[in-house]
């Protein structure tokens, strides 16, 4: 399936979805674009929502690493792994510089877990520790992760890290520890409260506004409107993984 076909399918899918939601929502008179964003603490996440992110590489500042810093602060990584070498230290999100070999065109973009719909890491995990929530967030259940690292072999984006040493003083919302694999979870704890992921918040605070977060299944969400209007590409679209993180200007 070509990329544009897939995008078209994708659009068709959430147009249909939004029609269904609209039908439901009109009766009780709920404001449409708020539906997916208000979740009570006791509610379980559902597949009525699919969280996604859209990153405009033209707006992404080459020297800026605010999203990375925000992620470190939010999830308390990038410090404390004093025994590990640089190659062994975890990185949940990184800034990548890409240079076109033909034209010399240089771009900069943040790269993290792409939250695939059919995630290879979820497929290969022997215990089911690598899992996808109903709302599309891909993450590691460290309680049952045995540290085999097969997900790291399978991930096309190098989004996963293995923790090579003992960790302490974690954030309550971001447990991480020795012998298990970890990665970006789109700040699930913030998303569940109706907030944006830390990186997205930092990007708009820096007034770059290169990152939009939202519900891909909600046709009225900012991300859906922007995607419909200007499109968004997947990295390694050839793998057909239908990623939740999309890029513009690649």
């Amino acid at each position: 399936m070509s990329n544009s076909e897939q995008t078209n399918n994708y659009r068709r899918k959430f147009l249909a979805q939004s029609a269904a939601v609209a039908g439901l929502a009109i009766a009780p008179g709920i404001i449409l674009n708020q539906v997916a964003h208000t979740k009570a603490d006791a509610d379980k996440v559902t597949d009525a929502t699919r969280w996604g992110m859209l990153i405009d590489t033209n707006k992404c500042n080459k020297g800026c690493t605010d999203c990375v810093t925000a992620c470190k602060t939010e999830n308390a990584w990038g410090m404390g792994e004093t025994h590990s070498s640089k190659e062994q230290q975890a990185q949940w999100i990184r800034k990548v510089t890409i240079t076109d070999k033909q034209t010399g065109h240089v771009q900069s973009l943040p790269l993290m877990c792409q939250h695939c719909e059919t995630a290879p890491c979820v497929d290969v995990c022997p215990t089911g520790a690598s899992m996808k929530r109903a709302d599309g967030i891909v993450q590691v259940d460290k309680h049952i992760c045995i540290g085999c690292r097969y997900c790291m072999m399978a991930c096309p984006y190098k989004a996963r890290s293995f923790v090579h040493e003992k960790i302490e003083l974690q954030k309550p919302t971001a447990p991480r520890g020795i012998g298990t694999v970890e990665s970006c979870n789109m700040c699930a704890h913030r998303v569940d409260k109706g907030e944006n992921p830390a990186c997205v918040e930092a990007c708009s605070k820096a007034e770059h506004g290169a990152m939009i977060f939202g519900d891909l299944k909600d046709a009225n969400s900012a991300i859906s409107i922007e995607l419909k209007k200007h499109g968004g590409e997947q990295i390694r679209a050839d793998l057909g993984l239908n990623t939740g993180v999309r890029y513009q200007g690649l």
Binding site: K44, G80, D141, Q170, K171
Partner: protein, 150 residues
Amino acid sequence: MMSIRQFAKHLVVLVGLTALPMLSNAGELGPVPPKAKANASDTTKCVEPIGEMRKNHMEFLLHKRDETMREGVRTKQHSLTECIACHVTPNDKGEYARFGDDEHFCSSCHNYAAVNVDCFDCHSDLPEDASNKLRSSKNPHQNMTEGGKK
């Protein structure tokens, strides 16, 4: 898996009971966990009756862990974070005991019963504020530079 867990539980109880008379002497009648910060509500001390918590806290935590992790349920009732926030308290000098110390709420009993838990391999053993404070004192330059630069 249940059966193995149950077997392990019985084994622990059995070993514990057998060891009890040998370990305890007249002076120390058992672990002395530190007092919690406050009662859970006006009518209840903890989030479940005390006896129930002593016996089954691991079941509550296990159930809650999967709900939170996998389904995004963020209620506070059986949340480990809340346990730590309320039960792990500083001493008179304002110092916190760490997991492994007899004075830490969890290890006060777990050391006594010699039951190993791996919760704190990934979770902090301190309330969030104390954890944050200690972390920034240990990493004064955290977040100043991007880690792992070549």
